[in-house]
Amino acid sequence: MASVIEMQGVVKRFGSTVALDGLDLEVEAGEVHSFLGPNGAGKTTTLRILLGLLSVDAGTTSLLGGDPWADAVDLHKKIAYVPGEVSLWPQLSGGEVIDLLGRLRGGLDAQRRDRYIEMFELDPRKKSRTYSKGNRQKVALISALASDVPLLLLDEPTAGLDPLMEARFRDCVHEFRGNGGTVLLSSHILSEAEALSDRVTIIRNGRAMESGTLAQLRHLARTKVTASVSSASIEFADIPGIHALSVDDHTVTCEVDEDGMAPLLARLSDAGVYSLTSAQPTLEEVFLRHYKSEDPAHV
C-alpha cells in the first residue's frame, strides 16, 4: 500500500532542547496508526511538523505526496486536525466554530454534521467559553469528521471524553476507516491504541523505538509463564532468552522471549508440569519495556 505519511530521520530542535532526534514514521493509506509515547516524547511536535506549523532541522517528510511546509495550503484541503488542547473563540458558539472550520476546509456535509452533533450530544448553541475541555474537543472532532477529507490527524483525541463518548469516538474512527480514510492519532492511552489501531509506532525522546502491527509488537515482548511442576530440581537458568526466573518448591515463574519458549516447554515437561499459565504481553508491557530499558531488571 502507498504511504500517506513518510518521515525519515526528522530532527527538530527548540533552542538547546532536541524534541525530535531522527524520527522515522510511516503511515500507510487506509490504516489507523497510533503514535504512542509519554508526555514530552515529541508526539505533538511531530503532528505540528506534518501540518507545516513547524519547520524541520533535518530529515525528510512527505505527506500525501507533498511537502508539509511548502505545500501546506494545498495539503490541508485533504486533512482535518484535532489538537490535543482545543481552544476555541470564547464568544463564538460551538455550531459557529464547527461550520467555520468546515467551510475553511472546503465545506462540510450538513447531514453528517447534524448526525455527529447528535451522536456526541453537543449543544451547538452554547458559547465556547462555557464548554468543558471534553466539549471543546467534541467541537473540533465533529468538524473534522464532518469534513470530506481522506486523512485525520488527531492529537490525544479522547483525553477529555467520558467513556461513553470515547466508545462513540471509536465507532466514528472505524467508520471513517471503513470509508477508506487514513487516521494518525497520538495517544498515551494504550487501551485506546489497542482498540483502534492497525499499526502502532512507539516514540521515546524523539525517536521511534518500535513500529509495526500489534501482533508484531507482541512478538517483541516476553511471555509470562507460571508453571506448577512436580520436580524442581531441573535447571532452567541456562535457557536462552529467559528472564526474571524464580523457582521455589513446585512453582516456576519466568518471562521468556520467543526463542526461549520451545526449550522452556521441553524442560517443564521433563520437570513434570501439571499446570501451566502463559500470559500474552499486553501493549502496556511492550510499552513499559521500552520506557524502562534503563532499568536493569528489564534488560
Partner: protein
C-alpha cells in the same frame, strides 16, 4: 468572610511576582514624567508674572481646558507645571490599575488557572482581594514616588503630596470599579471594556463641566477624574476631596465581594446568551472581523463623541496672544499659532496618537490568537499564513483610517454647528486622514515584531508609550530634535494649519509598507509558538 479570604497573601505574592517589571516600570515612568515636567517648567518660567500670563492663556483656551482641565491658581508654579498631567495622568493611572485588577481576576478565571488554584485551599474572594491589594498598594506607591519626584524637581512639599495622592486615589477608585466590572462580565476583554468606558466617560464628563463657565460646572464633580483636579494640588491642596474616591472604593469593594459571593466560578452577572446553532462565518477575514467589530464600534462611538465635543468648542479659542512669552508657551504646547486651526491641529494630532493604540491593539490580536492556540487550528485548514495575518492587519490598518475619518467628521460637524462654516467638515476630514500614516507605522511595527520575535510583541506598548510621551511632552522638556524625530507622529502634516507640509506622508507610508513586508517574510518562515 475570613474563610473567603484564605490564601490571599500567597496570591498577592504571586501577582507581585508576575507584575514586578510591569508595575515597577510604570511607577518609575509616572514619577519621572511628573518630575521632568515640573523641572522643565521651573526653568521655563522663572518669574511669577510669566507664569500668570501662561496660566491665564491656558484658562482662556477652551480647547486646552477641555483636554487637560483649568489651572486653579495662575500664580502657582506647581499648578502650571502639571496641568497637562493632572486629569490626563489620572486617566492613565486609572487605565493601569484596571489592567492590573482584571488581569488577576477575570482573566485568570477565563484562562482556567483560577480553577486550578480554586481546588487548593483558596477562599472565593481571595483572588479579588489579592488583585485589589496589589492595585491599591501600587497606586499608593505610585503616588508617593511621584510626590518625591515632584519635590526633588523643586515644587512645594505639601502640594506635591496632594498631587501624588490625587493620582493614587484615582487609581484606587478605578481599581475598585474594575473589581466590580470583573464580576459582571464573563470575559476579561469585556470587563476591561466596561472599565475603560467608565474612564472615558469620566474624562468626557469633566471636560464638559470644566468648559461650562456659568453652566453645568457640577458635572466635573460627578467624574472621579474631575476629583483629581478638584484636589487642586499647589492651589489650595483640598485634602478632603480625597474622601470622594475613598467613598467610591468603599462602595465598589463590598459590591464586588457581594457579586462574587453570589455567582459561580466562570459565571458573570451578564450571562452569555446562547449563540446560533449554525454559523455564517466562512473566512478568516470574517472571523477576524467578528472578533474585532465590537472593539471598532466602541472606538468609533468614543471618538465621535470626543470629536464632536472638541469641534464644538474650538471656536471659543480667544485671541489672547499679546506677549511673546505666551506665544512661546503656546508653541511648546504643540500648536504653531494661536489660531483655531492650530488647536484643531493639536486635537487631531492627539486623536491620531490615541487611535494608533487601536491599530496596535488590533494587530497584537494576532499574537494572542497564536498563543491561545486558535491560529494552530485555523492554519490546519487550507488557510495560508499570509491570508490569516493579512486579515488581521487589514482590520487594524483600515480600522485606524476609519476611526480617524469618524473623528475628523465629528470635529468638523461640531465646528460647523458652532461657527456655521461648512468648510470645516472637509478640512477636518483631511486633517484626520493626514494623521493616519503615522499611526500605520506603529501598527505595521507590530507585524514586524510578530514575524520575527513573537514573544516580544508586548514591547510595542512600550514603544507606543515612548512615542506618546515624546510627542506630548518633548516640546515642553526641550527634548533634542533627533529624539523628537524618532516618533512617527511628529512627521504628520499639521493640517488644518495652512503651512502644513506633506513631505513626510510618502516616507511614512513607505516605512509602513517596509515594516509589513519584513514582518510577513519572518512570519512565513518561522515556527508557530504557543
Amino acid at each position: 468572610m475570613s474563610e473567603g479570604l484564605a490564601g490571599t497573601w500567597p496570591l498577592v505574592r504571586l501577582a507581585l511576582r508576575r507584575d514586578r517589571f510591569l508595575l515597577t516600570a510604570w511607577i518609575l515612568g509616572f514619577a519621572v514624567m511628573a518630575g521632568v515636567s515640573a523641572s522643565a517648567t521651573v526653568g521655563l518660567y522663572p518669574d511669577e508674572a510669566q507664569r500668570v500670563q501662561a496660566a491665564e492663556l491656558v484658562n482662556a483656551t477652551s480647547a486646552l481646558v477641555a483636554l487637560y482641565g483649568p489651572i486653579y491658581d495662575p500664580t502657582s508654579l506647581g499648578a502650571l507645571s502639571l496641568f497637562k498631567l493632572t486629569a490626563f495622568g489620572a486617566a492613565i493611572v486609572a487605565l493601569l490599575m484596571v489592567f492590573v485588577v482584571v488581569r488577576h481576576t477575570r482573566a485568570e478565571e477565563e484562562s482556567g488557572r483560577l480553577e486550578l488554584l480554586g481546588s487548593v485551599a483558596l477562599g472565593r474572594v481571595a483572588p479579588l482581594a489579592a488583585a485589589l491589594i496589589v492595585a491599591f498598594g501600587g497606586s499608593l506607591v505610585l503616588g508617593l514616588a511621584s510626590a518625591v519626584a515632584l519635590i526633588a524637581a523643586g515644587l512645594a512639599v505639601q502640594g506635591s503630596f496632594a498631587f501624588g495622592m490625587g493620582w493614587a486615589f484615582t487609581g484606587i477608585a478605578f481599581a475598585a470599579l474594575a473589581g466590580v466590572c470583573a464580576q459582571v462580565t464573563t470575559g476579561a476583554r469585556a470587563a476591561r471594556g466596561l472599565a475603560l468606558i467608565a474612564i472615558a466617560g469620566s474624562y468626557g464628563l469633566r471636560a464638559v463641566g470644566d468648559i461650562a463657565s456659568g453652566g453645568p460646572n457640577w458635572l466635573s464633580w460627578l467624574s472621579p477624574i474631575g476629583w483629581m483636579q478638584q484636589v487642586r494640588a499647589y492651589a489650595g491642596d483640598r485634602w478632603w476631596v480625597l474622601l470622594l474616591p475613598t467613598a467610591m472604593a468603599m462602595v465598589c469593594v463590598p459590591l464586588a465581594v457581594v457579586l462574587r459571593n453570589r455567582r459561580d466560578l466562570d459565571a458573570g452577572l451578564l450571562q452569555d446568551r446562547p449563540g446560533p446553532a449554525a454559523g455564517t462565518i466562512d473566512s478568516v477575514f470574517g472571523l477576524a472581523w467578528r472578533l474585532q467589530r465590537n472593539v471598532l464600534l466602541a472606538w468609533s462611538l468614543g471618538f465621535a463623541a470626543f470629536g464632536f465635543l472638541l469641534g464644538s468648542i474650538s471656536d471659543s479659542v480667544t485671541g489672547f496672544l499679546d506677549s511673546p512669552q505666551a506665544a512661546e508657551y503656546l508653541q511648546k504646547l504643540g500648536g504653531a499659532e494661536a489660531l483655531n486651526d492650530a488647536f484643531l491641529a493639536a486635537e487631531v494630532s492627539i486623536a491620531g496618537v490615541i487611535v494608533a493604540g487601536f491599530g496596535i491593539e488590533a494587530a497584537t490580536r494576532m499574537r494572542s490568537e497564536e498563543s491561545g492556540g486558535h491560529t494552530e487550528l485555523l492554519l490546519s485548514t487550507p488557510v495560508s499564513r499570509a491570508r490569516w495575518a493579512s486579515s488581521h492587519m487589514l482590520i487594524a490598518l483600515l480600522g485606524v483610517a476609519w476611526i480617524m475619518a469618524v473623528t475628523g467628521l465629528a470635529i468638523g460637524l461640531g465646528a460647523t454647528l458652532a461657527t456655521g462654516d461648512g468648510g470645516r467638515i472637509t478640512s477636518m476630514l483631511a486633517a484626520a486622514f493626514a494623521r493616519v500614516p503615522a499611526a500605520w507605522v506603529l501598527t505595521a511595527l507590530v507585524m514586524l515584531i510578530f514575524g520575527w520575535l513573537p514573544r516580544a510583541v508586548a514591547v510595542i506598548w512600550g514603544v507606543f508609550a515612548l512615542a506618546v510621551v515624546i510627542g506630548e511632552f518633548g516640546p515642553l522638556w526641550d527634548a533634542p530634535q533627533w529624539l523628537m524625530d524618532m516618533s512617527p507622529f511628529v512627521h504628520s502634516p499639521g493640517l488644518p494649519s495652512p503651512d502644513a507640509s506633506f513631505g513626510a506622508v510618502l516616507p511614512l507610508i513607505l516605512v509602513s509598507v517596509g515594516l509589513l513586508t519584513a514582518g510577513f517574510v519572518g512570519w512565513q518562515r518561522r515556527d508557530l509558538h504557543a
